[in-house]
């Protein structure tokens, strides 16, 4: 019967939250939502009451009243405290999610690059260390600008559109863009950060549930902006390590082919990508 | 209205309308150049080497001559206003004439400066420094041209039979001209002088 009521209950429309800090951010939305509903009811009740009660009636004259300073003072001070309180209250979550100095020790670090019109990811490869990058190395064949002399960069593997990560690990994403502005938006993780060409942003999150999630671009980046969809597969640690090994193996075979020798596969896959204890194998 | 309506009364603030509009316009102009200077500060700090290298290509001698031209013209502008107020048309013409000459002198020097840059392929797209150099001096030069036009008009009008007596207008133009001068006083050190010792002549 009250089915239509859901249209007035904004918080019910959030997509499922699967990140550690998502619930806190949603909670803040809900807090503000309740405050807004209360203010809304108060002001609208007054407005509608006045509009009906004080409609033009024969013989009734309006009051020639110019205002009251005490009232003005009250409704200046009260909102100030309310809004200031809200601002201070929500600041801790802001610092926690966005301030670089508050980023927890990462278990997995990857590079993400937005380009017209898909997302590209660079994983640290078998050695677990991302190769050094600098803007002067950026070319269309090397969009991340990896230093070709850096040994750590040789085994880094790059994949497009589909991203794989383990659950319950702190993920650190170095975010940038190749051509124009993009915005890295993970609706289920409550993550959003614009990707700026020419600089690297640090974005972190920690997913709690395995599954397939969508990555969106939230900043206009051209005609096919709407189509810049990526996928994020969250795996259990074992599945992730398995996937990661396959990738490193493929990369080393590719490298070996390029060099014309057979790949020493056994060595590179020996160490798991991420250990269960969460030590940072490639968390540089 | 031919009727006895008192709607066109004296300005309430005592400042003539045109002058008031000019003050407001200059406030607007300050914000316009502030946008440039703000960007200049940010990008200069981010690209200090490029700016240091870029400065070496500029010709400080020419810019100094231009500074003298503009400061002189500001002074003669003020003198011409003073003389017009005193209804001393002859001296007004002399000082306004010098002002116009200085302004043209500024543009001629600027022309030589620009053509030297073009000759060496130092175009706005060359580096972020030259982007700022051409944009800021270019907009400043456009303002100089914008000042010359009414100056020449007033100057020529003063030779006609009717003469030119509207000293308020000249005053308003003077306000504008001092502003143009002031912008240069900021531009000159920002572009040419900020790296002492970095100069090896320039083009």
């Amino acid at each position: 019967m009250f089915d239509w009521f859901k249209y007035f209950d904004f918080p019910a429309w959030f997509p499922e939250n699967v990140s550690t800090f998502g619930a806190e951010l949603d909670g803040m939305f809900i807090l503000i939502w309740y405050i807004c509903v209360a203010i809304f009811i108060l002001t609208y009740a007054l407005l509608i009451y006045f509009l009906i009660k004080y409609r033009e009636k024969p013989g009734v004259r309006a009051i020639g009243y110019h205002g009251n300073n005490m009232l003005e003072f009250t409704w200046t001070i009260l909102p100030t405290f309310l809004f200031a309180g809200l601002g201070i209250y929500t600041d801790s979550a802001w610092e926690k999610t966005k301030n670089v100095s508050h980023i927890p020790k990462p278990d997995v670090t990857i590079d993400v690059m937005g380009q017209q019109f898909n997302w590209v990811y660079r994983y640290p490869g078998a050695d677990g260390i991302l190769g050094r990058r600098a803007p002067e190395f950026k070319t269309n064949d090397n969009i991340f600008g990896v230093d070709p002399k850096d040994e750590h960069g040789k085994d880094d593997f790059i994949i497009e559109t589909e991203m794989h990560l383990p659950i319950n690990k702190n993920i650190l994403v170095n975010l940038s863009a190749k051509d124009v502005l993009h915005s890295f938006f993970l609706p289920n993780f409550r993550v959003k950060q614009d990707a700026l060409p020419g600089s690297w942003m640090k974005v972190w999150f920690n997913g709690t549930k395995a599954g397939k999630y969508e990555i969106a671009c939230a900043e206009l980046c051209g005609a096919s902006h709407y189509n810049m969809r990526g996928l994020l597969y969250m795996h259990s640690l074992d599945d992730y390590n398995k996937w990661y090994d396959e990738q490193t193996k493929a990369k080393s075979e590719q490298l070996a082919q390029a060099l014309g020798t057979t790949a020493p596969t056994a060595d590179t896959t020996a160490t798991p990508a991420v250990t269960a204890g969460g030590t940072t194998e490639h968390g540089k | 209205m031919s009727l006895a309506l008192d709607l066109r009364h004296e300005p309430v603030s005592g400042i003539p309308h045109g002058k008031m509009v000019m003050w407001a316009f200059l406030a607007s102009e300050i914000m316009f150049f502030s946008g440039f200077f703000g960007a200049f500060t940010v990008l200069r700090n981010a690209n200090i080497d490029i700016f240091m290298e870029g400065t070496t290509h500029l010709n400080v001698a020419m810019a100094t001559i231009n500074t003298v031209f503009l400061i002189t013209s500001s002074l003669t502008m003020a003198l011409s206003i003073l003389n017009l107020e005193k209804k001393n048309t002859k001296m007004f013409q002399v000082f306004m004439g010098i002002t116009i000459l200085c302004a043209f002198g500024f543009l001629v020097v600027k022309y030589f400066e620009y053509s030297a840059k073009f000759e060496h392929h130092l175009l706005p797209s060359k580096s972020i420094f030259f982007a700022f150099y051409f944009m800021m001096t270019g907009f400043h030069a456009a303002h100089v041209i914008g000042g010359i036009i009414p100056m020449v008009w007033m100057f020529l009008r003063s030779f006609t039979k009717k003469g030119y007596t509207n000293h308020v207008r000249v005053e308003i133009l003077g306000l504008y001209w001092h502003f143009v001068d002031l912008v240069w006083i900021f531009l000159f050190p920002a572009l040419y002088l900020l790296f002492p010792g970095a100069h090896h002549g320039g083009h």
Binding site: Y7, W13, F29, I32, F40, Y44, L47, Y54, R55, E56, K57, R61, A62, I63, G64, H66, G67, W75, T76, F83, G87, D91, W94, E95, K98, N99, V100, P135, E136, K138, D179, V180, L196, P197, G198, E214, A218, L220, C221, G222, Y226 | L3, L5, L7, H9, V12, H17, A24, M31, F32, V42, L43, A46, N47, P124, K126, I128, A131, M135, F139
Partner: protein, 609 residues
């Protein structure tokens, strides 16, 4: 006094025409390149209503594509060229970007800003402060006519094969810097619009400061004038910063400089297919400069409407505006604080999070004056005797929609909550509540309220009320659901939401929004018809149809050049409604007090200004 009496005579003899005054003026000088502020206001009204339809059509096409992606546009689809409509007449993604950009740019820069400043400002300022015209009438004329080539450039890409600008109304580089001729023309056009706006603004400042009638002190000015005055200050100080940003953007786009282009950008210019940027610039710098103007611009768009609504409310509630001085200080506060909150548009842009915290705090402070205004409007209604004319209903719609728009703003003022809702339809809902629900309803209110003075004819009240009620309903049906899909994560500016699985459940709601938007669009024809019909067949307006206090109602209906037919002296503030010492429930500013009234005031002083 003789002369004034004969002026009255002359007026009654010649009707509205004041023909004796204009024999010397040719048709062109009188109606096209006119210096008369009222003619310029009418010109602004005509052009902005035209652009309102153009921008509205763009919005409906955008909505059609979002709700029914890939389906041919009804009626218009077959007219679209191949590049825009494909083979079937469905909107192509590239054309979608153009429409979306044009909708935003037209509605903001060619509709709302010229409406609230050009139309309302030009018409009201000289009349309401009791003078004959602007300080510099010729400059005023240029400020209108510069808009025409500017608008043509802004939309100039329409005639190009490469199309119009596609970088959104915000035109963030590097996207806007690498785009083709349509974008270049857009930048130049917007620069000229800004210049026209500044020419108007500096003129308003001088007019308000210099041309007030005898007795019209600053604190006797109506709220409309105060709002327009502060707005003019914002235009004067804010717009040039946008102009400087646009100059740099133009250089980047056209001359391949690198103000906003970082080192080694891997993109090619659509203008000439090269990649010759030297690099070293910063894309974020543009956003800072842009929002330094565009946040005050939000107030440029809404403050005049706030002023109008205050005046309309006082008139039709027959009550003094509650807290006149508090309202003025609130406007001043908004005007000042408006310059230090721009960063809240950039929380997720990559700006330092510490700056984010700073901007949260300043943004919170600016919410307070808005709250003060809401409470003062409620206070004005309290104890009133409210007459529900179309203008009053618009004013009430303004207040109620501004409450919702203001409340939804609190969410995004908090940087932490903004992470998720940034660049979603929640934001779209928010600013449409403020810009359409508030600003445009304020403009409607102004049209209904001042039309009798502007054209000397009454608008049809019944049609007016129909227009307001249906606009109000369709407006809410269109924009309220956008909050919901915004919370669902629906991004702005995407041509086809069905690409994303998590947005598929919202397609029904998207269709609902689109049908409501179409309803909202067609409702506006009631207004248009009301205006056109009553221009020709409308009832003749009396001098003061609303029994209002402010000076414009002292002028004859449809005043000629020079405005007033009597000398104007102001004796009191603009809101002496239902004064306790008087029988009549209004006390116009220009009516000299009788001796009994002076006596009564001495015995029983009210707190008049």
């Amino acid at each position: 006094m003789e002369a004034i009496a004969s002026a009255h005579e002359a007026h009654h003899d010649h009707g509205d025409s004041h023909a004796h005054d204009h024999h010397s003026l040719s048709f062109v000088r009188k109606y096209i390149f006119s210096n008369d502020h009222k003619v310029i206001a009418k010109q602004f009204m005509t052009t902005t209503l035209f652009f309102f339809m153009v921008g509205g059509l763009a919005a409906l096409l955008v909505r059609w594509q979002i709700a029914f992606p890939g389906e041919p546009v009804p009626f218009l689809g077959s007219l679209l060229p191949e590049a825009w409509g494909g083979s079937t007449g469905a909107i192509q993604p590239g054309f979608y970007s153009q429409l979306m950009t044009m909708h935003g740019a037209i509605m903001l820069f060619l509709v709302i800003i010229p409406m609230v400043n050009g139309m309302i400002g030009n018409f009201c300022i000289p009349l309401m402060i009791g003078t004959d015209d602007m300080a510099l009438p010729t400059l005023n004329m240029f400020s209108f006519w510069l808009n025409i080539p500017a608008a043509m450039l802004l939309m100039g890409g329409f005639v190009l094969e490469s199309g119009m600008a596609t970088a959104g109304w915000t035109a963030y580089p590097p996207l806007s810097a690498i785009q083709g001729a349509g974008q270049t023309m857009w930048i130049v056009g917007l620069f000229l619009v800004g210049f026209a706006s500044i020419m108007g603004g500096i003129n308003y400042i001088a007019t308000v400061l210099n041309k007030r009638a005898k007795g019209m002190s600053m604190f006797r000015m109506p709220m409309t004038i105060w709002a327009l005055f502060i707005t003019a200050v914002l235009i004067t100080l804010g717009t040039p910063v946008l102009a400087s940003a646009l100059v740099m953007l133009f250089f980047d786009n056209f001359l391949h400089t690198s103000f906003f282009i970082p080192t080694n950008l891997l993109a090619t210019s659509a203008l000439d297919g090269t990649n010759h940027w030297s690099g070293g610039g910063q894309p974020l710098l543009f956003q800072h400069l842009f929002w330094f103007y565009s946040h005050p611009a939000v107030y440029i768009m809404i403050l005049p409407s706030m002023g109008v609504v205050s005046d309309v409310m006082a008139t039709f509630a027959r009550k003094p505006i509650f807290g006149y001085k508090a309202m003025i200080f609130a406007i001043m506060g908004i005007g000042f604080l408006g310059f230090i909150v721009w960063g809240h548009h950039m929380f997720q842009s990559g700006m330092s999070p510490l700056l984010g915290t700073t901007f949260v705090l300043s943004t919170i402070v600016i919410a307070v004056p808005s709250a003060i205004k809401i409470f003062n409007w409620l206070g004005t209604l309290w104890g009133g005797s409210i007459r529900y004319t179309a203008a009053m209903m618009c004013a009430v719609a303004f207040v109620s929609m501004f409450i919702i728009g203001g409340l939804s703003g609190i969410f995004m003022a908090s940087a932490a909550v903004d992470i998720y809702i940034h660049d979603t339809y929640f934001i779209v809902a928010h600013f449409h509540y403020v810009l359409f629900g508030a600003s445009i309803f304020g403009v409607f209110s102004a049209i209904y309220y001042w039309f009798p003075k502007m054209y000397g004819k009454m608008l049809n009240e019944g049609w007016g009320r129909m227009h307001v009620i249906w606009s109000f309903i369709f407006f809410n049906l269109t924009f309220f659901p956008m909050h919901i899909i915004g919370v669902g994560g629906h991004m702005r500016r995407i041509a086809d939401p069905t690409v994303y699985d998590f947005l598929k459940p919202f397609q029904g709601m998207n269709a609902f929004i689109t049908w409501s938007a179409i309803g909202l669009g067609f409702t506006q024809f009631i207004l248009l018809f009301n205006i056109i019909w009553n221009l020709n067949y409308g009832k003749k307006a009396p001098r003061n149809p609303w029994r209002s206090n402010t000076l414009e109602w002292a002028a004859p209906p449809h005043p000629g050049h020079g405005n007033f037919d009597t000398d104007i002296t102001v004796y009191r503030g603009p809101y002496e409604y239902s004064h306790e010492n008087r029988e009549s429930d209004y006390w116009p500013q220009w009516v000299p007090p009788t001796e009994e009234e002076i006596e009564a005031e001495k015995l029983n002083p009210s707190h008049a200004h």
